[in-house]
Amino acid sequence: MIEGILIGLTTALTLQNILMVMVGCFFGTIIGMLPGLGPMTAIALMIPITYGFDPATGLILMAGVYYGAVFGGSTSSILLNAPGVPGTVATSFDGYPMAQQGKAGKALAIAAWSSFAGGTLSAIYLLFMAPSLSKVSLSFRSPDYFALMILGLTAIAAFSSKGQFLKAMMMVVLGLMLASVGQDSLSDITRFTFDNMNLTDGISFVLVVMATFAMSEALTIILKRNDPTSAAKQVSLTELGSIRINKEERTKMYKTIPRSSIIGFLIGVLPGAGATIASFLAYGMERNVVSDEEKEKFGKGSVNGLSAPETANNAACSGSFVPMLTLGIPGSGTTAVMLGALLGFGVQPGPRLYMTNPEIFWSIIMSMYIGMVILLILNLPLIPYIARILAVPKNYLIPLILFFSVTGIYVMSFNNFDIYLMIGIAIVATFLRLYDFPMPPLILAFVLGGLMEENLRRSLLLSNGSWEFLWDRTLTACILATTILIVVWHIYKTFKKKN
């Protein structure tokens, strides 16, 4: 392994490859900040460019773009409450309220340091555990994935504050219902399209996230313009605040980062799971382990609540390279695009990759760490400039948010219908938000809907329609037991508070 690490370092530390990581991180950050253009788009755009390089350099560039785009997505989550990618949705839960309190600089700094720490720790885990982790990830079967998704959705109970569990569950079901629109993945039978051709391919994630977060946020701000309770928030939005993280906040981060990085990495390793589930689970877990006093701050600008998903989503990015490089199974949509590029280079990923092409395997792992350092050096000094976006008056910022939302949808589909659908969903979401129906559960359910149905289908077909698959395997039973524990714990806490 030492020989492999040295090969990796030699390849990653060439001037050309360091330059590639820098260019990738820079462009990734900019593209990731634009709502609608996430890492997948950014990497897809890079593929034609990478074919001019050797495979290691091409993949190093794409890895840089990946990290940059994830960080850029966090920036738009924190400043505009407009997550461009699913993996940064959880970042907005506490990042945006923090920005509203005039601590945007601090929120961005916490995000940058947490991302760095998460990425660094997961690069270390990856270095030592990649070969053995591929064996573990292979042991996961459809019932385990289905149970894992149920767990992810149940953890939503942790996101909703007191008395909102049922509202959160209603939003989960609504998200799953929206995800069921369009062609069935196996039989191609169309569902809930009402003979409208525009719905045949289903509703896109970007459309739903733009409507429920960016557009609905803009409409809510306008709607509550004269509301005296929200007036204070409007004023503080123009303040950047210090980017310094004080000792108390650092202490909180020291505790959050190690546990969130482990969750992020392990979830990232599972094929098909990725940064989204990782960030939501890390957020949910963090909320459950902190003190009652700290728990009250969740959703209102908690340091732990911001640090946990940021650490986990970056850790999951590294983790998702394990199944891609060692098994040839992408851990996320983004790594699926990268897998396509890898095959384009004529490199066949699999358990023998680090024997047949050690320079590719190890140089990517080494360049991940270098990418993290560069991302931090590049982004921390830029925070005051990035956060200037907050100084833009509402009269300009609101139309610009609407413009980015519509553009994001327009460049994807060139279709009027999608724009109308987005406006319709945004109106409903704005109304629901007025009555405290949480939107994050809807988004997570929407993202997981397809995968959940797929894994339930496989499990039920394999067990001949019997639900015994839920307790047949120890792993599935353990995950489900955790889910039940969360629900029981939540009900117990609610009753305890009422009494």
């Binding site: 049922l166 004269n226 008056p393 519509v406 724009i419 077909l461």
Partner: protein, 156 residues
């Protein structure tokens, strides 16, 4: 049972779930798939029942945290105008083209939100959209359909 807006939303969701469930049962599956352990309508049927269950619970159980919204303080008129402008923008973007409609959408939105600094309004609409278009179309090579710019010979 105390009737409040949250309960009304729950009732609407209950009706929506019932409609969803009815539609789920109407999904046409292949004859050989009709009695399979899992077909295209299985998951939606579970979802329909889940929707009925959770909204039903919300309807029946007491609501300890009633949300009160003061409608008199809400800016319905401006929000409505902004939505209307966005709908017009969506309706014209394909036929007229990205540049003109986006610039006019931004300009009109600034105006209706109360902005009157004309030069700034102009700079943050037409030149801003041109620069953004250049970034997308020129640098990132993302195709943007624009019949207007095509007709005046700016775009190929």
């Amino acid at each position: 049972m105390n009737i409040n807006t949250t309960k009304i939303i729950s009732l609407l969701f209950f009706i929506f779930s019932a409609f969803y469930l009815y539609t789920a049962y109407q999904i046409q599956v292949f004859a050989f798939d009709e009695n399979a352990p899992f077909n295209a309508r299985t998951f939606p049927i579970y979802l329909g029942y889940a929707g009925l269950f959770f909204s039903g619970l919300k309807l029946i159980l007491p609501d300890p945290n009633t949300i009160k919204v003061d409608h008199q303080n809400l800016e319905y008129k401006k929000t409505g105008i902004l939505i209307l402008i966005a709908i017009i923008y969506g309706a014209t973007i394909l036929k007229v083209g990205y540049f003109l409609t986006t610039s006019l959408f931004l300009f009109a939105s600034y105006y209706f939100l109360g902005e009157r600094r004309w030069i700034l309004m102009f700079l943050l609409s037409f030149p801003f959209v041109a620069a953004f278009m250049y970034l997308l179309h020129g640098i990132l090579d993302i195709y943007l359909r624009d019949p207007f710019l095509k007709s005046i010979g700016v775009m190929g």
